[in-house]
Amino acid sequence: MSKQSTIKVIFIRSLGHFQSLICTLRSVICALCAMLFALCLFSLEADARVTGRCKDCHNVRSNQGAAQTSVPSTGNDCLACHGRSPAGSENIIIIGKSRFPQVFHHMQNNDLSAGNFYYVADSFDPDYSRGHNLVGISRQQNPPMDAPPGFMKSILIPGGMGPAYWPNQRQLNCSGTWGCHGNRTIEDPFKSIAGAHHEDDSILDGSTAGKSYRFLYGVKGKEHADWEYMASPINHNGYKGAIEANSMDTISYLCGECHAKFHPSPNLGGREEVGQAYDAAVWRRHPVDIVFNSVRGGFANSEYEGYVKYSLEAPVAYDKPTGGENAVDSSSIIMCLSCHRAHASPYPGILRWDYSSMTADTGKSTTGCFTCHTKKGHE
């Protein structure tokens, strides 16, 4: 072989080696990217159980109360962590590695998704119509508001049956039978939620209080990592709704466990109390757990068709929520939280907006009621 041919062969072989090296490098990079992606995906699904220093929550040596608290002897142990500084300006308090959502604080315009008990707190300037009157925050209201409006006895709830009656002057707790969180078949507020904070909640299947959305036993959903602090229309809580109001794992069913006459489920208010939910629906009260596709007259060309982008002000639920939904369509579901907050709000009726300012046909508003009722705010 001539010298030139030899050089040519060597060059071609070298080129070949170089090309195979490039291919190898590409494969390695691809593999690394895949691993990184998997790690990211894994971290999104990582559980959010409470971790950190035991002492930050469990002040077992306290002689004053069961836990550290800035509000001594309130009779409400939850506030020791979730209402640490009612006059303070933090809606999430960080101690060590633990983050505590505050349901009772004075941070302006930054209430978390459920609202702020500040608006009904006796220690400030309360208006009891703006929220739930919890033990340790508000005094009990006078009858008839000393029992949940729409209460029905012995209804079906996750884990068993609701109470047979609501005792006179029985005030609301955070959890337990006379509350919302935890297992409501257990009366003691502490016992009803015991163990939930440390449970692996990477999958919210509603099987235990710890594996339920916001420890609301039986409820499914997607929890925003910061309780909707700085949420956006593409990053928010994912609320579970029912297409045909027959499921016990929705957030609206949870509300219906106390306010049963407002929910169309046959286990709750049903047709008799709520009205005919489907097929020429005539609602006696505002609909919940009803999908847009089932509205009277059909979804197509209805005013609801105009609600196309997720609104944090009037959120909707989904059958399989992810917390990243931006689109609202015929499969979106109206729920209690479309109009109300869970804890307390600045507005009467625990509404998300000032109902007294809702004026139809002015051409001025697309918010509040008009988020869904898109043809009533303006022509």
Binding site: V50, T51, G52, R53, C54, K55, V60, R61, S62, N63, Q64, G65, A66, S73, G96, K97, G195, H198, E199
Partner: protein, 332 residues
């Protein structure tokens, strides 16, 4: 004939030794050189009045004088006897099971019991013990808040708590028969913890080195009767009498489900009590049978940590080493 006698003696000796071994503690009563203990300090046995039986002077110092040392050793040799040390003036190398009063003397009141003759009176708990409830104290005398905490007697833990005088409360126990270990007398009670006549004395298996060289296999074994003793002075912590206190679980079986079932190997940092005191210490923990005890979290005398805890509660994290609370709370 000689062979028969020899065989008889051999067999008898073996039988005696075997019997002594079966009783657990064997002949653990104090023996040896009298002077070593009974003249441990000058004037200890001085006559006080002519023709009257001699009396011990400075009796309240007895416990401390024998059971303390200026060194860091926690077992001392005294007249042929091995004496457990509960108060070292130098930092103890291997504290015994009850801890060491060194910590309350040198690190502060929150580290342990402020026993008279060892530590000055607690600046916070100046009267009754925390969460004391007279109705839960089986002593016929009851705790006297005008007097300090003592090693023994109605204002203490050891001896017969129906007797106010600490010396009288333990008098004779060191030399008395300590078997069977049934709590019927002070000597027959675990670590001389007789409590009061109304209840049985504390029972348990006494490690022959007071846990100085303890391991998961070799250690004291506790019974729930020790929790009854603690409750005699701190009863409010369990009954809710003290208001909204942390629920001090004691005498409760370790649950058979949840995170607790993973606690299977005895841990000296979170010991359990037994339903039935075994003859030999064991490293096995049986959820559903073995019990949470006061001593699961606390030591009896004093520890390096606040509230006489076995570990530093300020530095227990759910991440990292699984120590302290996390020995039982394995799921946190």
């Amino acid at each position: 004939m000689r062979k028969r006698i020899f065989s008889f003696l051999t067999i008898s000796s073996i039988a005696v030794l075997f019997t002594l071994g079966m009783t657990g503690s064997g002949l653990a009563a104090v023996a040896g050189d009298c002077n070593a203990c009974h003249t441990v300090y000058p004037g200890m046995t001085e006559k006080t009045f002519h023709a009257k039986p001699f009396e011990y002077v400075s009796r309240e110092m007895f416990c401390v004088k024998c059971h303390s040392t200026g060194t860091s050793d926690t077992i001392m040799e005294l007249g042929g006897n091995r004496v457990p040390i509960v108060f070292n003036n130098s930092k103890p190398v291997k504290p015994l099971a009850g801890g060491d009063f060194y910590y309350v003397v040198f690190l502060g009141d929150r580290k342990g019991h402020n026993v008279s003759g060892v530590a000055s009176r607690d600046t916070e708990f100046t009267g009754f013990p925390p969460a004391y409830s007279r109705s839960l104290d089986p002593s016929s005398v009851g705790y006297n808040p005008q007097k300090p905490l003592t090693c023994a007697g109605s204002n203490g833990c050891h001896g017969n708590r129906n007797i106010e005088d600490p010396f009288e409360a333990i008098f004779g126990s060191h030399h008395a028969a300590n078997t069977p270990s049934d709590g019927s007398t002070t000597a027959r009670s675990y670590r001389f913890l007789r409590n009061a006549d109304a209840v049985k004395g504390v029972t348990g298996l006494e490690d022959d080195e007071w846990n100085q060289n303890a391991s998961p296999k070799k250690h004291n074994e506790y019974a729930s009767s020790i929790d009854i003793l603690c409750r005699s002075c701190h009863g409010g912590l369990q009954s809710g009498h003290a208001g909204r206190q942390f629920n001090h679980l004691a005498g409760v079986p370790i649950p058979v489900n949840g995170e607790y079932i993973k606690y299977k190997i005895y841990n000296l940092d979170a010991p359990v009590a037994r339903e039935t005191v075994p003859r030999v210490s064991s490293d096995v923990v049986i959820p559903g049978k073995d019990l949470v005890s006061c001593l699961s979290c606390h030591v009896a005398h004093a520890s390096p940590y606040d509230s006489q805890l076995r570990w530093d509660y300020d530095n227990i994290f759910t991440e990292g080493e699984r120590n302290g609370c996390l020995i039982c709370h394995t799921g946190k």
